[in-house]
Amino acid sequence: MSIDRTLGFTALLAGHPAVGPRRLTELLAERGAEAGWAEVGGDASIDPRRVLADHRAAGIEILVLGDARYPERLLADPEPPAVLFVDGDLASLGSTRVAIVGTRRCTGGGAGVARELGRELTEAGVTIVSGLALGIDGAAHRGVLDAGGAPVGVVGCGLDVVYPSRHRDLWTQVRSTGLLLSEAPLGVRPAAWRFPARNRIIAGLADLLVVVESHAKGGSMHTVREADDRSIQVMAVPGSVRNPSAAGTNQLLAEGCAPVRDATDVLVALGLSVASRAAEADRRTRPDPVGQTVLAAFDWEPATLEHLVVRTGLRLPDLALALEALLAAGWVESAGGWYERVAA
């Protein structure tokens, strides 16, 4: 049987809805790709060469376990992906990798930290791996792009299926400047089980995992368990104890995981030399006295207009004007009627 046919059947098997990573590995080892495809009741009329041609036409490389270009780090993984679909430059993987993960439903502050970490770690020569999800993941990737780095995104669906669709632009940018990895062939829609499977690859690729914000239960906590299984160090960004989207990260800290206050903490943990980073001068215009009162009233928690009226005792027009100025200067962000202080 030709290599092309085998590759085609492998891709078909990887996209079968009832074949998870473990079963795929078993089938390939015990049966081989073609017999495996027959075993799972796959459509015999599909031409495997055609499948392969589609991937090649889309510029997607198929790496099976044992391929010379297969990421070295995953070879030693307890559950290495039997096949990886790759779009972009494999060199983007670099030598030192930090995974930045977190909740999709994050605060603006959390997203800001993720973006900052992404940017500063990239500037220090570290590769950032994340999952291209909404919220923290997307912010981390954007930070990498801010620094002109090559982001690595691991996704849970086919590389032509942009999910979430709101991240279409980001998806395209990551592919063109960095690297996209998936266990699924083209056309595979995101299924719930593919996300935990994707998380194990993120953990497996990383030298260190940073959780920026996570609810008490969530996908990020799963990634943390996968990292623990692989003895990969996990660090977490502390959050307000009143912030539900920091409950998971704070729990990690309580369990003894090392805190991340800034990129330096991560670099130290990685054993990298910390170049003395000159504190970046804040370019924001200083708020006027009313603005400072309003900023102080935030207490570093998201607040509605109503909260701020009550806390500051200001008249609504004065408060609204001060908020507009703070928004314009970048001290505060707003979404859906809530305001959040984002800078000290």
């Binding site: 997203a111 997307g138 920091a246 027009p317 859906g336 959040e340």
Partner: protein
């Protein structure tokens, strides 16, 4: 023998003159109603027969044909009973034909001969020309609202006959309308905390801006909304008559004075069908809730729980102030100028807008948000986040501003707007904005930044400027709209879609 009696039938909120013709001839005893009666109208035979027998009349053992002319108008309900009975009595020679000259008859008959009121009396009377109207005593007060009309309110068929025969004098219904008793409206002083919600109500009342309140369950959205009618000025004579006609046609209870003077407040449940909301019904053509709220407030609680097509049916009336309901039988236009106030949770769990606070899955949130179409959302000039009042607010005794004080400012601002001659501020045409709401120094910068940051769309820009105009009017400011006015208007217009996409917007 033939009996002819004028009456009227209701279609939508318009009365249509109907001539009841009754023909009594030889043949097997029968009773036939022709001329587009609906089921209730056709059943008049049973009621008329029993009422006549109860009132000491004779039922003619002949072939009786009732024709309701013109046959093109659909006759709905039981309001023609009295006219049919009188015409039958004339046709069967129990009454001389000349007694009905110059008179018209309205009312439903009970089996015991009692006269019962029918919905839409006000509209029906308008269709009866200058005839003296004989109708149920319970409707006489409402009928007296049509000025310069002789109205005789009677209780039974028996007394009607006695008056017609001249045995009893016609009662004169020139009774003075009872003094306008001030209806107790819920007062704003009862609302604890909620400074922003209260202010949004004030702006909505002053400028006629539609208001959307977002907030978790128990935040007091319904409590706030029910205080809005109290802030509005009393209805003008024209508006009062219009609203009274609609309420009369819809069969809603009228206030003691007969005239609806207070702006109505209608709060249909979110299970309402689109017919219940906009009006219609294949046969009855009843005005819906949005017409009942005409010149007042329509409050839609749990906005996202309404069926999508029901909500989208609101778009035309919101734009045009009328709703046209077309059915196979007829097309009817109902007035529907109302102030829309809606409340909803930001997402199914209710905590969605607080950054990082939501417990819903992405899919659930997206489905919830999809229920509101963008064009409908866009109609809300004011969109505020309402949070639960704190314990201090609830238990404290800090006096809150009462409705009367707020209302005084609202009336003042409305007077300023009226002097401009452009209706309420919410209706200022786009091409007049630069003239009536010119931007002061700095105000343009605030708007420019909001546009640049994506918080404000081009469509939203005009709406913010109108709201800013209202805020300036409320403060008694001059011709120009300042940066503070614009900033306040912006802060009263949060983006509910942003609460679902907020995370996205922030990380972008």
């Amino acid at each position: 023998m033939l009996g002819l009696v004028p009456s009227a039938s209701l279609l939508g909120v318009d009365g249509h003159a109907v001539t009841v013709e009754v023909h009594v001839s030889g043949g097997l005893p029968s009773f036939t109603v022709v001329g587009s009666p609906d089921a209730a109208c056709r059943e008049a035979s049973g009621r008329v027969r029993a009422a006549m027998l109860s009132s000491g009349c004779t039922w003619p053992m002949h072939r009786v044909t009732v024709n309701l002319a013109p046959p093109t108008v659909r006759k709905i309900g039981s309001g023609l009973d009295l006219a049919i009975a009188v015409a039958l009595l004339v046709a069967s020679e129990q009454l001389p034909p000349e007694v009905v000259d110059g008179r018209a008859f309205l009312g439903e008959l009970g089996l015991d001969g009692s006269l019962r009121p029918v919905p839409g009396t006000l509209c029906l009377i308008e269709a009866l020309g200058d005839r003296a109207v004989v109708l149920p005593a319970a409707s006489a007060g409402e009928a007296a609202l049509v000025s310069g009309r002789a109205v005789h309110g009677l209780d039974t068929l028996g007394t009607v006959l006695a008056c017609l025969k001249g045995d009893e004098p016609w009662p004169t219904n020139r009774r003075e309308p009872p003094p306008e008793t001030a209806i107790r409206m819920p007062d704003l002083a009862d609302v604890r905390g909620q400074p922003v919600g209260r202010y949004a109500l004030e702006v909505a009342a002053a400028g006629g801006h539609h208001l959307l309140m977002l907030g978790p369950p128990g935040a007091g959205k319904t409590m706030l909304a029910s205080r809005l009618p109290g802030l509005l000025p009393p209805l003008s004579d024209r508006a009062a008559l219009e609203t009274t006609r609609i309420h009369s046609a819809a069969g809603l209870g009228l206030p003691p004075g007969g005239l609806v003077r207070q702006p109505p407040f209608r709060a249909p449940h979110h299970g309402a069908s689109s017919v219940a909301l906009v009006g219609g019904g294949s046969a009855t053509m009843r005005p819906g809730e949005i017409s009942a709220a005409c010149n007042g407030v329509l409050f839609l609680d749990e906005l996202a729980e309404f069926a999508t097509h029901v909500l989208d049916a609101l778009r035309q009336p919101l734009e045009e102030g009328v709703v046209r309901v077309a059915r196979a039988a007829a097309t009817v236009t109902f007035p529907a100028r109302f102030l829309l106030v809606a409340a909803m949770n930001p997402c199914p769990c209710g905590y969605g807008s607080r950054p990082g606070g939501c417990r819903c899955s992405d899919g659930a949130r997206a489905r919830y948000q999809r229920r509101l179409s963008g064009p409908l959302l866009d109609r809300f000039d004011l969109r505020v986040e309402v949070t639960r009042p704190t314990v201090d607010d609830l238990m404290g005794h800090r006096p809150n501003e009462a409705t009367a004080a707020v209302r005084a400012r609202v009336l003042e601002a409305r007077a300023v707007a009226t002097r401009r001659g452009l209706g309420t501020n919410a209706a200022i045409p786009v091409d007049r904005l630069d003239e009536v709401a010119p931007l002061a120094d700095g105000a343009a910068d605030v708007l420019a930044h909001a546009l640049k940051s994506g918080r404000l769309s081009a469509r939203g820009l005009h709406r913010v400027r109108r709201v800013a105009r209202t805020i300036a009017d409320l403060q008694g400011a001059g011709r120009e709209v300042t940066a503070a006015h614009v900033a306040t208007a912006l802060s009263l217009r949060s983006d509910p879609a942003g609460s679902a996409l907020g995370v996205q917007a922030m990380s972008a």
